[in-house]
Symmetry: C2
Subunit: 388 residues, 2 copies
């Protein structure tokens, strides 16, 4: 097994949902909570660098927003960087933080993922969500983000001659998990009938195939392997990182039913970690729409092409299954505050591998994979974590 | 002297100015030109990772814009990341690329700095420029970006009891340099009288104290020290990197006449490089307004507080002086396409240290410092380069 790249030594997570707090308050709450989670205690001044992952939805601070970490994270003039890769912003911010400590530049780095989406009125949200697709060929052509994934889902079900029950099963499972997560936006189970009879958004996707519009922030404390044990006896090790990208527009890609960015990210992460897929205890995948979870299972190498549906329908991705997927409820039920999602997935890896996930704990969790996608697959990260 | 962190092995620069090319074309031109500049040749497929520094002015691709590097940079699915720290976006993107090669993740990384500003009509530009200041206490209070620097300039001249001729001298010198730079937006000298009699923008700053609104893109090829010589016999070594930040709003800072972010960045860069300020041959500093160049001289440690004016008025910062500053014309005359500026400064270091700067060549240039500021000092980078 390869050498550890970095360690998570603390993590904080606000509730996800339609929240009254503004973006600065959300950041403050997440950072405070991350700092409070460090077993041996931590002073703000020990943080050497910080990264903010956010799309900047609603334009509350369009430029230079990372600098507000000085105020809301109570930092004092350390380097701060905003990283924006749409829905994968904090997945990439986490990788930047890992590099900051791995390269020896810093002992300790902070990652904050943030989005405040409900400030924007409903008709305007639709356009905001489209900004992560290709401007000319998708957004200005009127293709909404649900429309993009609707096209992918149609093609997938047709190509592999599958019933839509495979999509339904993702929603049902993720709501079942979300119901156990105190931070989740939706803490209620849903029936197959409810999913399938909810209003059609973009054929074949119904409202219940889509993740909600959410507010929230997540903070992670990333330490170099050398200093991690100074802060905790139970660090969660980062053992693999991979990333990839692809053309922005669907029309410029090789396939509609596979994300090349995910495949590349997964290949690199497993190569650097020198780990086998069989050693993975749980997956946190980017299920912005139910179809995305099926694609992720395949692109990450946990199912053959077209077989993600079967794996899901067989119950093997439930918490009690062979390879639990999205035990926190996923984007679908936990919510998807765009820039916060990558960090939220790492938060779940942190609590699961420290056996502190409460009611949703996966028994014997020792290795976790997180998978964060920007837009409809224009960028992706995969990160592998191992219990300390 | 410390070990090299990375090397520049190629660089490309479009003209800066009001250009007809769209943002994608600018990127394509800059990348093509950078690749063509590599002595031993380079295949696009050899680039392992790419970073895009851009504010995203005008909203042509709000989310996920780094993914367009696949198309316009002819990359094939490698990790891409957009970094946005306002006017320091590509300074921070350069640092990310340096870390990517220094940490052993990649042999070769691409940095692209980009902004297309003239697409936006003049009244709307004023608001766009304000987005890098604090939203509540500056932008929404009606303080324009020139207004922010006007406040700083007023305070500076008053605090040190200086005449405005110190500001004037910066503009005159930088136009003199810009006149020799084929990529500069303004290739004309200006007289002291012209500067001082141009329309007042934000007291005491006149139009000629302000950098222009510009389009442009710059691409840099960054190699690990181990592979650099495979591509060229004349790499330009990166020997020091530093960065810092501060509160977004002027009112929340310790001083109006010194940027703490710059001081911190400079201290770190010189410490990591194990270099003395006396060994620096030229400075590329962030002169978005003339006052900013005076502050930079002081905060970077090349003049005592309040003495940047004297250093400038004495002619020591001219190309023939003891410490030439902004030989390419600076933001003032070369132009300031926001996200492209940090990379453009590194481009100048590259050509100067390779003795290929043409008419504006600084004789005997061996060490160059670049200084890139986000907003009015909310973030800053300093980078030190040494001739190979």
């Amino acid at each position: 097994m390869a050498k550890e790249l970095a360690a998570l030594i603390g993590a904080g997570h606000t509730r996800f949902g339609a929240l009254s707090e503004g973006p600065r308050q959300l950041v403050r709450d997440a950072v405070d909570s991350a700092i409070a989670s460090v077993d041996a205690g931590l002073q703000h001044a020990e943080i050497g660098e910080a990264f903010l992952g956010t799309l900047g939805f609603s334009g509350w601070q369009i430029g230079n927003s990372s600098a507000m970490l000085n105020e809301e994270g109570r930092l004092s003039g350390i380097p701060v960087t905003r990283i924006e890769n749409a829905c994968a912003s904090s997945g990439f911010a986490l990788h930047a933080a890992i590099r900051a400590v791995q390269s020896g530049h810093r002992d300790l780095a902070l990652v904050v993922g943030l989005e405040k989406m409900t400030d924007v009125t409903s008709p305007r949200r639709r356009y905001w969500l489209g900004v992560s697709g290709d401007t000319e060929w998708e957004r200005l052509a009127g293709l909404t983000f649900a429309g993009v994934y609707g096209l992918i889902a149609s093609r997938y079900l047709d190509q592999y001659r599958l019933p839509r029950s495979a999509l339904t099963e993702v929603a049902v499972k993720n709501h079942e998990n979300g119901a156990l997560n105190p931070n989740a936006q939706f803490r209620k189970t849903v029936s197959r009938e409810q999913v399938e009879s909810s209003p059609l958004v973009a054929d074949p996707l119904t409202l219940m195939d889509c993740c909600p519009v959410s507010d929230g922030a997540v903070a992670l404390l990333v330490a170099s392997p050398e200093v991690a044990r100074r802060f905790t006896d139970a660090p969660v090790w980062v053992v693999g990182c991979g990333a990839g990208s692809d053309a922005l527009a669907l029309q410029d890609r090789q396939s509609l039913t596979s994300l090349a960015a995910t495949k590349r990210a997964a290949a690199e992460a497993f190569r650097t970690a020198e780990l086998d897929r069989r050693s993975v205890s749980l997956l946190e995948v980017h299920d912005c729409f139910t179809i995305a979870e099926l694609l992720a299972l395949e692109d990450l190498g946990f199912a053959e092409p077209g077989k993600g549906a079967e794996l899901t329908l067989s119950g093997q991705t439930r918490r009690s299954g062979r390879i639990p997927v999205n035990p926190d409820g996923g984007l679908k039920a936990k919510g998807h505050p765009i820039g916060a999602t990558g960090a939220s997935q790492a938060y779940e890896a942190f609590v699961q591998l420290r056996r502190s996930a409460g009611d949703r704990q996966i028994a014997g969790a020792s290795v976790a994979l997180t998978h964060n996608v920007g837009g409809s697959g224009a960028s992706a990260t995969v990160t592998l974590f191992r219990a300390g």
